[in-house]
């Protein structure tokens, strides 16, 4: 029971304080965006897994002496509640987890279906309107308009979309920087990371860890893609491409500042004022430490599972 209690505490602490731990590590120790993306993703995945496992374990501890109890708890929850009044709280918690899992699944399905429907429709529009072109070794969709723009659509039928207007303003090196940036998004499957944290925030609004992840991860994927482009093409082409393609919001009321993404000024400043990176060992230590901290709930949950499985339930009681 003590393990479960410790795991529960860890879940609460990381759920509330996780964002501060992660952001502190990023700021104080200059962790790069890719490391931070890995940390945010593992923190959220570990948190979700621990929550689910923890309640199953608690239910098993009260309702049955072995891991079989987990199954028993799920299948005969009502029966158990009748037998054991102490099970009310656990029963309520288990029902909550079940409801939460169903909600997560439902929203994931809806988000996934809406996304793929949109991608299919957009691909059809691109086929009808854009032309396939080869630019600096990349295959792109070229949109024949004077407006400047570049974006990428993930998926098997996706790719990088760029307008003739954008190509008209960018130099060859800047174009390469834009393409490298978008390719980094596609290769890194950044849409999945952004989709995952937005899904969690949408399914469970109000949990600080998810709220913070949904705010930070979209920025971090832009930074990671910027860093990739800088490694491939250099800093100046990238920042000038940002300057050339940055546009003010128009008076069109449909067009709004996108909530996600990173502030372009911040992106440019990050590249220009890039600090000289030193003390790699210290950075590695802090990465390891932060990872350990955000993974604590999962570690303790695993420990409590073993404890529940190994220590016979009846002996504790009697």
């Amino acid at each position: 029971m003590i393990w479960s209690f410790a795991a529960l505490c860890a879940v609460v602490v990381v759920g509330l304080e996780g964002p501060r731990i992660l952001r502190n590590a990023e700021r104080a120790h200059d962790l790069d965006p890719r490391t931070m993306l890995a940390l945010w993703t593992s923190a959220t995945v570990a948190w979700v897994l621990s929550c689910g496992a923890l309640l199953a374990v608690l239910a098993a501890e009260l309702l049955g002496p072995s891991v079989k109890g987990i199954l028993a708890a799920c299948l005969s929850l009502l029966q158990a509640l009748e037998r054991n009044h102490a099970g009310w709280g656990i029963g309520g918690g288990a029902a909550l987890i079940l409801a939460a899992s169903l909600r997560l699944l439902w929203i994931a399905m809806r988000q996934g279906r809406a996304g793929s429907t949109w991608r299919r429709a957009h691909h059809r529009d691109l086929l009808a309107t854009a032309q396939r072109h080869h630019l600096h070794g990349h295959s792109v969709w070229l949109l024949d308009t004077d407006e400047r723009g570049a974006y990428c659509v993930p998926g098997p039928r996706g790719g990088v979309v760029i307008t003739r207007g954008a190509l008209g303003t960018l130099t060859a090196a800047q174009t390469r920087a834009v393409l490298a940036h978008e390719q980094a998004h596609l290769r890194g499957r950044h849409h999945l990371l952004v989709g995952w944290v937005r899904l969690l925030d949408r399914a469970f609004p109000g949990i600080p860890l998810f709220r913070a992840a949904a705010r930070d991860v979209p920025t971090l994927v832009e930074w990671a893609a910027d860093d990739r482009a800088v490694r491939d093409v250099g800093m100046h082409p990238l920042v000038h491409a940002l300057g050339s393609l940055a546009q003010a919001v128009s008076a069109d009321p449909r067009q709004s500042l996108s909530i996600g993404g990173a502030c372009p000024i911040e992106r440019v400043r990050r590249q220009i004022e890039r600090p000289t990176r030193n003390r790699p060992r210290r950075r590695r230590t802090w990465t390891g430490l932060t990872a350990a901290l955000v993974m604590t709930p999962l570690a303790l949950t695993v420990a409590s599972t073993f404890a529940a499985a190994l220590i016979p339930h009846c002996q504790c009681a009697g």
Binding site: Q111, A114, W118, H122, R124, D125, L126, L127, A128, T129, A130, L143, D144, T145, D146, E147, G149, A150, Y151, C152, V153, V161, T163, T171, A173, H181, E182, H185, H190, H191, V194, G195, V221, E222, A225, G234, M235, H236, P237, V239, H240, A241, L242, G243, L245, A246, Q247, A248, S250, D252, Q255, S258, I259, G260, G261, C263, P264, I265, V268, I272
Partner: protein
């Protein structure tokens, strides 16, 4: 929301876009070199496009002449803006190179870049 185009509709629009003046149904049909379509099919597609407000027609003599209502570039811009500013579905799917900003932020960004050389000095 712009009504999307099917493959044949897109091909018809291509023919109309590349023509300097309005075309009668028969010329559109003859312009569809990649598709084997009957006169009536072409006529139906053109009427569908007129319903979707992609084309307009006028009568000259005994024939209807069709002309595109929006040009290719306007359509391409609409398509992109729809993708970038459209729905929550696209928001969680596509990643744009640079977000739109407030006008004063754009000025600040350009001012910051003015001092930097265009290309790498290496």
């Amino acid at each position: 929301m712009i009504a999307g185009l099917g493959p044949l509709e897109a091909a018809v629009m291509e023919v109309l876009w590349s023509a300097p003046e309005p075309l009668p149904v028969r010329s559109v049909m003859e312009g569809l070199t990649d598709h084997q379509v009957a006169y009536t099919t072409t006529s139906t597609v053109l009427e569908n496009l007129r319903r979707k407000e992609w084309v307009d027609r006028e009568r000259i003599g005994r024939l209807w002449f069709y002309r595109p209502l929006r040009d290719r570039s306007t359509h391409a811009a609409e398509l992109m803006n729809e993708a970038l500013n459209g729905s929550r579905d696209s928001e969680s799917t596509l990643l744009r190179f640079v977000d739109s900003m407030q006008p004063e932020d754009v000025r600040a960004l350009r001012a910051m870049l003015a001092a930097l050389p265009e290309e790498e000095g290496r």
